[in-house]
């Protein structure tokens, strides 16, 4: 199978989804109104509520939602062959993610730009809101732990990327200073920043930094995890203009450049997919495709994290309600394209099937390493960049994404601890330093608890991270569905994905529970049970909320 054919099929399907399905959803289901006064106009304050150009808004909605997860998930899931991953990414983007992200913006805009958490409280009930908080906490916990493991693995496997990755952070710090202290023009600074970043990537392979296998009784991997958390803790406490803002900007540029290079190289090289469409010969210990595929690929098909972005910042800046379709649905399409690129390079970026098999020796193997190595192969043969440089470029891209998510995640987790300090009247917990310490501690516990003392097995929790992410998406879909029921509009377009997600998530959790029990991994078994309880509560909440709304509607009909 040629990669270009698959690429064209995927892109055509997603374009069809955008032009046809999202149009139908916008007109018939959400019924967007171009004259509706959006919160950005109603509460305009120049701070949070600012009507923003839709292309700009799409730009940072997309860069906020696109991270390392749509790369890692699909690159792990191709172990079952390229076809299942491809179908789930494409159909998931069209019928799940697009409707979910777009719907989250719509629901928030129609409710004074409240966040999904607050909306769950208003629309569904106070109990659902508490579940929401717990699920968010679990998502953040897992995302931080798993991304620390991902970056540590990258640093160990690709020593050439160490200098550019940490150098990029320095570049961002300098950019922040130049813009805020020296008031230099952004255009000048971005050109200098991008040149500095690519110079670093260029010299990376000649100055590899290898972490020794053992450092004072700890494995090299474990040392990287500790360093990463130390970095993320400091970064999450710094003022945003100093590091977060310039780094996100540079990351955004990197994302577009990286996507362009990858797609360009695939088109020029037209590699053959060496992996089978459906892998009958999966390594021993690989769980069954159904239902695990649907939690292994969360971002890229549907992800609850997007609902937080959609309702947290995007909905406050929406200029016209009709822009929600472009920003939300097309944002999901952008992420689907990233996931599609990951699938293509992780299945076509190898010379032979045997090479591919050597990468995918067990479930959870391959992943981001397959993305980097496969991508480097495609870029090297497609546009002639040296393989080492291409690998460094992709490693930097993945590591910077994961790093951004980590410190944003840690910051959000700190807010949750501080909020708990407020609710339970614990003044000590409200201090930023202590709340950050608690957040880092809980993530480290998970990273090392799951993977043993060297933290190398941390990727075991990847599907578990997917389940929490899907639960979050489920809660958002529930809010949208209840709103639709109350408006007497068709609810199947959001209810069907919701039911599918809940069934797959609960099934995946049960299967994993058994695996963890058989492996004697009682720590993860405990985490699994916590998520499972949350999942069952979400499912019960869905049934009762929908039944209640329908009863209300029926009663109203009876009255009138």
């Amino acid at each position: 199978m040629s990669a270009i054919v698959l690429l064209a099929l995927g892109l055509a399907a997603m374009a069809g989804g955008y032009f046809l399905y999202s149009k139908f959803i916008a007109e018939k289901i959400y019924r967007l109104d171009p004259d509706y006064k959006t919160p950005a106009h109603e509460f305009e304050d120049g701070v949070d509520f600012v009507p923003t150009n839709r292309f700009v808004l799409w730009g940072h909605h997309f860069t906020s939602v696109a991270g390392a997860a749509p790369i890692v998930g699909p690159a792990i899931a191709v172990i079952w062959g390229w076809l299942p991953a491809f179908l789930w990414v494409v159909l998931g983007t069209i019928f799940f993610a697009g409707v979910h992200d777009f719907g989250a913006i719509w629901a928030s805009v129609r409710n004074k730009a409240k966040s999904v958490g607050a909306l769950t409280g208003d629309v569904v009930g106070a109990r659902a809101r508490s579940i929401f908080m717990i699920v968010i906490f679990l998502v953040l916990l897992m995302v931080n732990a798993v991304f620390a493991v991902v970056i540590a693995g990258l640093m160990m496997n690709f020593p050439s990327a160490v200098v550019p990755v940490w150098g990029a952070i320095l570049v961002a710090l300098v950019v922040g200073q130049l813009i805020y202290r020296r008031k230099m023009s952004l255009a000048m600074v971005s050109i200098v920043g991008v040149i500095a970043l690519y110079t670093l990537i260029g010299i990376g392979p000649s100055v590899p930094i290898e972490m020794p296998a053992q450092v004072g009784g700890l494995s090299g991997n474990a040392v990287w995890i500790l360093i990463l958390f130390a970095y993320a803790a400091i970064a999450s406490l710094l003022p945003v203009w100093m590091l977060l803002q310039p780094r996100d900007y540079i990351n955004g540029l990197q994302l577009f450049v990286g996507l362009l290079i990858l797609y360009g190289a695939i088109v020029l090289l037209n590699p053959t997919l060496v992996a089978p469409a459906y892998n009958n010969d999966v390594p021993a210990g690989t769980p069954s495709l159904l239902p695990l595929l649907f939690v292994t690929i969360a971002c890229g098909a549907i992800s609850g994290f997007h609902g937080l972005v959609s309702s947290g910042t995007t909905s406050k800046q929406l200029n016209k309600e009709t822009d929600a379709r472009f920003v939300g649905y097309f944002g999901a399409v952008g992420e689907g394209m990233l996931a599609l690129a990951a699938i293509l390079v992780a299945t076509a970026g190898f010379a032979t099937f045997a090479d591919w098999q050597a990468m995918y020796t067990a479930f959870g193997q391959g992943g981001v390493n397959a993305f980097v190595e496969g991508g480097a192969f495609v870029i090297h043969n497609g546009i002639g960049l040296p393989e080492a440089t291409a690998a460094t470029l992709l490693t930097v891209m993945a590591a910077l994404f994961a790093g951004t998510t980590m410190d944003t995640g840690l910051r959000l987790q700190r807010y949750i601890f501080q909020e708990w300090g407020e609710i339970y009247n614990q003044p000590w917990m409200k201090k930023p330093s202590i709340a950050t310490f608690l957040a880092v501690g809980s993530c480290l516990l998970l990273a090392f608890g799951a993977g043993g003392a060297d933290g190398a097995g941390g990727m075991i929790i990847w599907p578990l991270f997917g389940t929490t992410n899907q639960l979050l998406a489920g809660l958002t879909l529930l809010v949208i569905t209840v709103m639709l029921v109350r408006l007497r509009r068709p609810m199947w377009y959001t209810l069907a994905p919701l039911c599918f997600l809940l069934v797959m998530t609960i099934a995946a959790l049960l299967i994993q529970l058994r695996t963890f029990f058989e492996q004697g991994n009682y720590f993860l078994m405990f985490v699994d049970i916590v998520v499972l309880v949350a999942a069952i509560m979400v499912a019960m909440e869905c049934t009762s909320a929908l039944r209640r709304s329908r009863a209300e509607m029926a009663a109203e009909k009876g009255d009138s």
Binding site: V56, S64, S185, P239, G252
Partner: protein, 100 residues
């Protein structure tokens, strides 16, 4: 003839300039809009502290720099109402100075 070419050249230059300014606008929006809120809030927090320093004498908190901050009071009066509301005081905390 010469003029014609010149004006063509000018309009092209102008188009490039317009395009560049558009690009700059987009870049600046992308850079700042995501964090506008966080930065404005951080700045407001600093300003709030400054308000407290300026109006501290009036509320019975001694301020060694009162002599200098006194002349700032009229400049900050406009923000006084927002500030005391934000600090959780429904009415002006100063007996002799009511803004609402």
């Amino acid at each position: 003839m010469h003029d014609d070419r010149d004006s063509g050249h000018d309009s092209r230059l102008e188009r490039i300039r317009a395009w560049l300014s558009q690009a700059r606008f987009f870049a600046e929006e992308v850079y700042s809009s995501r964090y506008r809120g966080a930065i404005a809030r951080a700045r407001r927090d600093e300003d709030d502290l400054f308000m407290l320093l300026v109006f501290s004498e009036m509320m019975g908190v001694p301020n060694p720099a009162a002599y200098y901050t006194l002349e700032l009071q009229p400049l900050l009066l406009e923000r006084f109402h927002d500030w005391h509301r934000r600090m959780g005081m429904e009415q002006s905390p100063l007996d002799h100075f009511k803004c609402c």
